[in-house]
Each structure stands twice: as structure tokens, then as C-alpha cells.
Symmetry: C2
Subunit: 215 residues, 2 copies
DNA sequence: GTCTATAGCAGGATAGAC
DNA sequence: GTCTATCCTGCTATAGAC
């Protein structure tokens, strides 16, 4: 019993600390020593539990990142339950809310987006997991929700580009915090995050909002 | 003469190869040996010319990245010369065009955005340079161009969030190529890049384009 | 399952010849 | 300015005791 406990706890601590460090510094900048120190266990534990460093990285995605992405999608879905039918505005707001405020702690949100951006910009094996198991199904669901509101003539590609654009904003305001803060002069307080949710919702609905005729 | 020549050529080759490698793999994943091999010079050359690896990285930004960012801004400015007054549509299109088609080769565009995203998501000393010398002034200019078209009551912050959002799209469609391709099924041909320019322009102007009443 | 000890190698950096 | 040779640190991974 205490054996199994130790096993699980060590493995869990390793996954947690590894994820935090990989997110903050990137795969190559983190050493196994650093991870095992942070997890208060022995250097050899990584090789025992995961075989090698790279496998630990992949396991971080399988055991931590992907489940969290699913929780985010659940949170998104719940936001929409109140609505009789998902209007584009409701979808945009629920999306922004789930990713910018949502169920995650600040630390978790940070981890999540840092790791995602690292994979998006430099695809390793983990990107396959991320795209195939999380992004594609989620985008498909979003497409289904938005399609009824779109002009008849717009195809799936148009829809996907729209979704990718909302996604780009959500991602950007999460991972480029340092730059956003430097440019706007605002820290990521609850108030500012709510302001960002408003902004993303509006921009998704009306762009710059200059009231130009629609075509 | 040949001395000075050799000096400059070696230094230039180092900067070029270093930038390419840092962009593709990230700072920590690249070794000085790898760089000097690619530049066909001796291991000690990095320390001779730049002092150390980190300084070489910073010099890549000073001597390569920032000048290229200036060229992009020039290209953006030129796109707008034909217009009597810069309408929001013209600004959005010029922005998307400069960054997605623009004056850079595919390889240069790739380098540029990879390095930028690395800095945006994990600020090192180079982020200060990037934000202070490139982003902030550029955003200020954009703000000046867009302000006349905005509703009276919207302040600078609203304007900045709008600019950051356009920027987020431009950036995203450049750095997340792998994922975009995986999701849309489209490679980054000239045709698709032009399609993206259209999309970014439209999304910037009207968002999802569902024709919702403006407020 | 967890530890110590260590093999074996790659990394950044430098001294000094040319 | 460029080279070779080398130092020394820190890395991943493993063998083997407990």
C-alpha cells in the first residue's frame, strides 16, 4: 500500500514539476536534475518511471495537458448551457471566458498556453496529440455551432479561418502577456482579464467595430 | 583588406546561421558547435566575435531581426501610399500583406516569426529590444492611423486591444503553420497566403461577419 | 521503488600557436 | 582573425545496492 502510494505520488509530482518547468523554460532548457530536485526525488526516478526525458515530456501531455484541455472544453460547454441556442456572440464569449478566466488557476492557465504555443510553433510528436485529440474535434464542434449563423455561401474553410482567428486572439492574450502588459501598461488582474473577454467577444463579432458596410 | 573582409564575412555568416538555427530549434537546443559548423568556421569564432553564446543571440536581434522588422514596416507604409487616407480596411490589408506576403522570402518570414514568438512567450533580454524599438512605435503609428475612424468614446486602450488582435492573427497564421495546415488541410502556397490576407482583412473589419447590429 | 555512484559524452569557454 | 588543444562543468542514462 505505502509502496503503491509512493509510486503514484512520486510519478505525479514528477509530472507536475516537469510540466511547470517545461512550460516556463522549454524542453531543452530544463534538465532532468532540475525536475527531480523540484519533485524532491532522486535523479534516477525519471528513467525508472518514464524511461527517458523525452517520454516524460510526452507523458506530461497525455496525463496533464490533454485532460486539462478537456476540462476547458467542458467549461466552455457549460457556459453555453444557459443559452437556448448558441448565438455567435455567446460562442465567442464562452470561448474567451473559458480560456482567459475559466476553471484554471493562473498558474495552470500559464502552463497550458505556454506548452501549447511551444508545440504550435515547433511541432514535436506532442503536436499530433494536441491537434488530433483536442483541436480538431473542438474546432469541429465550434464549426457546427457557428454554421447556422453564417451566410449560406461560406464554406467550411471560411468557418475554420474564423475559428482559427478567435483562437489566435485567445491564445495571444494568454501567451504574450509580457508584451501585452508592456504595450498596454496593464497587469493581468481579474478586471483586465474580464476586459479582455469583452474585447475578444466584440472583436469576434464586429472586428474593429468601425461600422463599415458588410460587403 | 582581406583581413577585414574575412572578419566581416565570418561574423555575418555566424549571425545568419545562428539566426536560422535559433529560430528553428530555440536557443537552448542549439550548440555553439552546431552554429560554427554551419557557418564553416572555428568553434572559437563565436567567443572571439561575440564574447559568448548569449551575446550572439542578442546580436542576432540587433543586427538582423530589428532591421528586418523595420523593412516590414517600410513595406507596410508603402502599401498605404496609394490611398488618399488610410481607411481601417486599407490598414488591415496592408498589415496582413506585409507580414504574410510582403518583402520577405518564406525562409526569412519563418525565422522572423519563430524568433518573435519565442520572445513573446518567454521574455529574455531581447524582448525589451523588440517591444521598445519595434512594437511600441509601430503600434503607436497604427493607433494614429485608426483613431480617426473609431467611435469618439473609445480610448487608447480600446485601440491598443484592437491592434493587438489584428497582430495576434497575423502572428498566428505565420507561426502556427503546422497546426493551421493540419486543421484546414491547406499548404502555405501563394494562393493560400493571399486567401489569408483576405480573411484577416475581413475579420478585422467585420469579425465573424454575421451582420449583428453594432451595439 | 528509491537510492548512490559512475560511466560516457556534449556543452561553453579559454589559452596560446600561427 | 583564425586555428588547435584542452579544461571543466553539467548532462542523460544505467548498474547495482538497499
Amino acid at each position: 500500500m505505502s509502496k503503491a502510494d509512493n509510486h503514484d505520488l512520486t510519478k505525479d509530482r514528477l509530472l507536475d514539476e516537469a510540466e511547470a518547468l517545461f512550460a516556463r523554460k522549454g524542453y531543452d532548457a530544463v534538465s532532468v536534475r532540475e525536475i527531480t530536485n523540484a519533485a524532491c526525488c532522486n535523479l534516477a526516478a525519471v528513467n525508472y518511471h518514464f524511461g527517458n526525458k523525452k517520454n516524460l515530456y510526452l507523458e506530461v501531455f497525455r496525463a496533464r495537458w490533454i485532460p486539462r484541455a478537456r476540462r476547458l472544453q467542458e467549461s466552455f460547454k457549460k457556459s453555453l448551457d444557459g443559452e437556448e441556442v448558441a448565438s455567435p456572440r455567446a460562442v465567442a464569449r464562452a470561448l474567451a471566458e473559458a480560456f482567459l478566466v475559466g476553471p484554471l488557476s493562473d498558474e495552470e492557465r500559464f502552463r497550458h498556453h505556454q506548452l501549447m504555443v511551444r508545440e504550435l510553433s515547433q511541432s514535436t510528436e506532442a503536436l499530433e496529440l494536441v491537434v488530433d485529440e483536442v483541436m480538431r474535434p473542438f474546432f469541429k464542434k465550434l464549426a457546427g455551432m457557428l454554421r447556422p449563423s453564417m451566410p449560406e455561401e461560406s464554406g467550411t474553410e471560411h468557418l475554420m479561418l474564423n475559428i482559427l482567428s478567435m483562437f489566435a486572439m485567445v491564445l495571444h492574450f494568454n501567451f504574450a502577456r509580457a508584451a501585452v502588459t508592456r504595450v498596454t501598461g496593464r497587469e493581468y488582474t481579474e478586471a483586465f482579464k474580464n476586459r479582455l473577454v469583452e474585447h475578444i467577444t466584440e472583436f469576434s463579432l464586429t472586428g474593429l467595430g468601425v461600422g463599415e458596410d458588410l460587403h
